[in-house]
Symmetry: C2
Subunit: 244 residues, 2 copies
DNA sequence: GGAGCCCTTTGATCCACATCAATACGATTA
DNA sequence: TAATCGTATTGATGTGGATCAAAGGGCTCC
């Protein structure tokens, strides 16, 4: 039976035109004909096992990557060993934009679970986006969104206290899970307390204590990496009503 | 005498092709013919007085801006009044990239001194960069550079101590002044201690104390906003040799 | 299915930076 | 030259989160 299915069908199954993430990803706003053009460009897919690098800081930049399945973290490491997680990425999000500026990657991208990415050769993407206006615009939006996100993280790191940071983090995850059709209130963290802490500029013990505090106050139910948000407005209140 | 000069000459004087910042700015890598095309696109210039806004968070996005003279800060403000400076920009740098993602600006841009910017209507920039490959590529590099810079700030805010942050800040300024043909070791700060503190995630008193400490140790000579770097290697050492 | 290891939680103590407070400086204007 | 105001410095004290420490829990990989 299976051998009767032509190989091309399997190919189409993994194309942008058939991908259920297309509304979040590069194809957003493209018409069907344009998506087909994009399909031709997305050459290959790559599977990355948990804990393995998609790319490393210093490697030469050739392509950007759209996450098809799984999730990643990006981090920057200083000579003395200190490292900072700069982001967590999930399906439909794009990795590798940091590499455009110097033709070399400036951070590491590591899979948090077994994952798969679509490889988008950058020079070909530039070529096609010179022809397809909507692709060009969507790509610019994706880069700009990354800049806006980074400003949010700066705000978080520069002016918020520990519990506010964690609340903001959970609300952000909730919103991104929702956009992917998952529950807004119940999800599984793919990263450790240490990684969350690095991202939020806190130590893992502080993250753990903040989780415990949220649990005591009935804001969330925490069981290891399984999170249930019980009081979204309560978490939001934590963010805005900063009692000086 | 002056009246004999045709008006067009004054126009040309302020065009990209004649601008001494072109190696830092959008025209970088373009050939003379392409720069002329860019000239036509850069419609107008705008003067912004000290302390005035170039744009505000929430305003609709129409154009990006290249700084021709002066300097700016960008900041994000929360409802409860807390604000975070997300960057300081100087000549040749581009402002407004945050607005592409939602068609609305997501931060404020405020002049630190009397300044002038070139207004670059964004839809026309996209149009021209579909025709001019080198412009497209340079624009992508500028956006990517902003992302890389933001990651550096995250590292700074998330994993460095107060004096390291200030050292990194001074070295960064020094390098940018150098790129503009100014002294690497002697310059005038355009921003207050409070603004530096907001950018670095510190209080103004902490910034002031760190300056005093650097002075005691002979790393810099500080007199209000006038800075003389006396020991660049010393500052760099402060960054890398993090004694745990 | 069990051994080992990593991850998480929780408590006790410490310290870097915040906060509070007062003074001093410099630029601007009268 | 004095008055005013925003900015900067410096000192005293407080505190949120870091650090140190130990025990418990749950994956992962044989």
């Amino acid at each position: 039976m299976n051998s009767a299915i032509p190989a091309t069908i399997i190919e189409i199954k993994t194309a942008c035109s058939q991908c259920n993430l297309r509304e979040l990803c590069l194809p957003f706003g493209l018409d069907p004909r344009e998506i087909n053009q994009l399909d031709e460009l997305v050459g290959s897919r790559r599977k990355i096992k948990r804990q393995q690098h998609l790319y490393r800081s210093g490697e030469s930049f050739e392509a950007i990557y759209a996450i098809r399945a799984g999730s990643f973290k990006t981090d920057v490491i200083l000579e003395d060993g200190r490292d900072q997680v700069t982001g967590f990425q999930m399906t439909g999000e794009v990795l590798g934009l940091d590499g455009i500026s110097t033709e070399h990657h400036s951070c590491n991208a590591i899979a948090l679970e077994d994952s798969e990415v679509c490889v988008i050769p950058f020079s070909r993407l530039e070529e096609l986006s010179r022809q397809v206006e909507s692709l060009q615009h969507q790509f610019h939006k994706i880069m700009s969104r990354e800049i806006v996100r980074d400003h949010g993280v700066m705000m978080l790191l520069g002016s918020m206290r520990a519990e506010e940071r964690l609340a903001a983090f959970l609300l952000n995850l909730s919103q991104r899970f929702t956009a992917r059709g998952f529950s807004p209130s119940e999800f599984h963290l793919r990263m450790t307390r240490d990684e969350i802490g690095s991202y939020l500029g806190l130590k893992l013990e502080t993250v753990s204590r903040a989780f415990s505090r949220f649990q005591e106050e009935g804001l969330v139910a925490v069981q290891q990496k399984h999170i249930r948000i019980l009081d979204t407005p309560g978490l939001k209140r934590l963010l805005n009503h900063h009692t000086i």
